[in-house]
Symmetry: C2
Subunit: 252 residues, 2 copies
DNA sequence: CGGTTTATTGACCTGGCTCAATATGTGTGG
DNA sequence: CCACACATATTGAGCCAGGTCAATAAACCG
């Protein structure tokens, strides 16, 4: 297998290992998954609403977004997927897409056939559990988005999105840091239930904490940003000590 | 086992069967789950944020809500659970609660120990898959809530919530129907990211389609309500033909 | 360099919020 | 069955966060 593929799967495995206890055999099963590199153009539906999917998409570089929309066609981003995320993992058990998937900027992915994921999960119950758990973390994120959009004002919403994305990409609480954030202001608006005009104005108000330039975000004052965002990273379940990592079945 | 418990588990099994293909042995494993009846007072946290849970809660009558909140303490309901739902099913793989759970009105539940669910899932991979899939339907609902709160106006939000709840409770498209809906206007506000005052005013505007009284909703014009709500029930995955019901592993 | 996105800004408007008062339930104990 | 206490619903008046519309200005890209 090309080196690049293996590296992508390794990142995904690292993520699973952070929250689940997997045996070497199970870990190898993850690394042995077939993976087909692909590139996704921005702003084109990669998976359409209602489509049956055959692949899950492991993000290597870039960002994917899951989209819903209302009757008027206004779009709402319901989830972001950063490198290491398996977008569409839920489609392993629910292949009919309930929302559209597209890249927010040019994105490299690895396509992992459902067939392979399903068979690996069937052979290794603890792996199935780890995948299930990974989906549940995504659900916890979704739940936070409901709170974010429903009960926070414009500045907090954007700040929260930034804190979450930084944390999911592995940022720690450093005074000054930068991270990849290739969303346009219109896409930020679609993720936070706002208007691009108001995103623009709100970003100005946040300038003492964070600025966006090109494809990345520059945090000037992380503590301030966290405060503005009302951000508590517990829901991301990032730092589970080894003893707390769960496993449903005895090791093979 | 008392008759009432068995009936509750049967409703849950029916729900699993609607979307997953389970063998008789696997179905029996569901019915054999230990279940402890309990009653939940309204407006008291049954599961607190960050708490480790030992039980999943199968709703028998009433409604449970999952709550998040912002820094000011404004609450946001992120999910509703109606009879037949296993609230907290995700806690089987993620026992630390990432949101609080409380009853919205006096509610009867069956407590199902995680231990039993985990062991049943470990013994029957297809059952694990069915539970996983059930969690994914909840996630699809959550995703719709993001769209609802982010991109619909007040009337549509409430109409959508009502359509969803009616459909999840098994309602079909009848011209006139009633269904249980024991939420106060304040709780509707917390579910839709609004204010109770505005919920009150919006309900008046919806009177030609639906009225609320006591603990139930009375639909005068379902087609109108659906149109106002911009409601498409596909995401609820209710009517999967038997041939489409999935199973990850060969039958035992 | 030209064409297309994306960002920025101004002027104005409105849906939904806030604050506050009043009415209507609803459950409880006597 | 009544009366009280508390929760819930209803209504009015005024305000404001964020939306809409529209025009430039920058940035990006081939």
């Amino acid at each position: 297998m090309p080196h690049q593929n293996r590296a992508g799967l390794q990142v995904f495995l690292d993520r699973l290992n952070r929250r689940s206890h997997l045996t070497p055999v199970e870990q190898q099963a993850v690394l042995d998954l077939p993976a087909y590199p692909a590139e996704m153009e921005a702003n084109i539906d990669h998976v359409a609403l209602g489509e049956m999917t055959e692949f899950a998409s492991l993000v290597v570089t870039g960002v994917l977004g899951r989209f819903g929309q209302n009757a008027r066609g206004d779009r709402q981003i319901t989830a972001l997927h950063v490198p290491g995320d398996m977008a569409n993992l839920q489609s392993v058990v629910e292949p009919r897409a309930t929302s559209a998937l597209q890249a927010l900027s040019r994105t490299k992915i690895l396509k992992i056939p459902h067939q392979a994921l399903r068979s690996a999960a069937a052979r290794h119950p603890a792996l199935a559990e780890a995948l299930w758990r990974d989906c549940m973390v995504d659900a916890a994120i979704l739940s936070q988005w409901v709170v974010n959009i429903g009960r926070r004002d414009a500045a907090s919403r954007i700040a929260h999105l930034l804190c979450e994305t930084a944390t999911r990409q592995g940022a720690r609480e450093i005074q000054a840091l930068s991270f990849e954030f290739p969303l346009t202001q219109t896409q930020i608006a679609d993720a936070t239930g706002m208007t691009s005009v108001h995103v623009n104005r709100t970003l100005k108000a946040l300038r003492s904490a964070v600025t966006l330039a090109g494809r990345s975000a520059h945090v000037l004052d992380w503590a301030l940003l966290v405060r503005l965002a009302d951000f508590d990273p517990a829901y991301l379940q990032r730092d589970i000590e080894p003893g707390g990592r769960l496993r449903i079945a005895p090791a093979d």
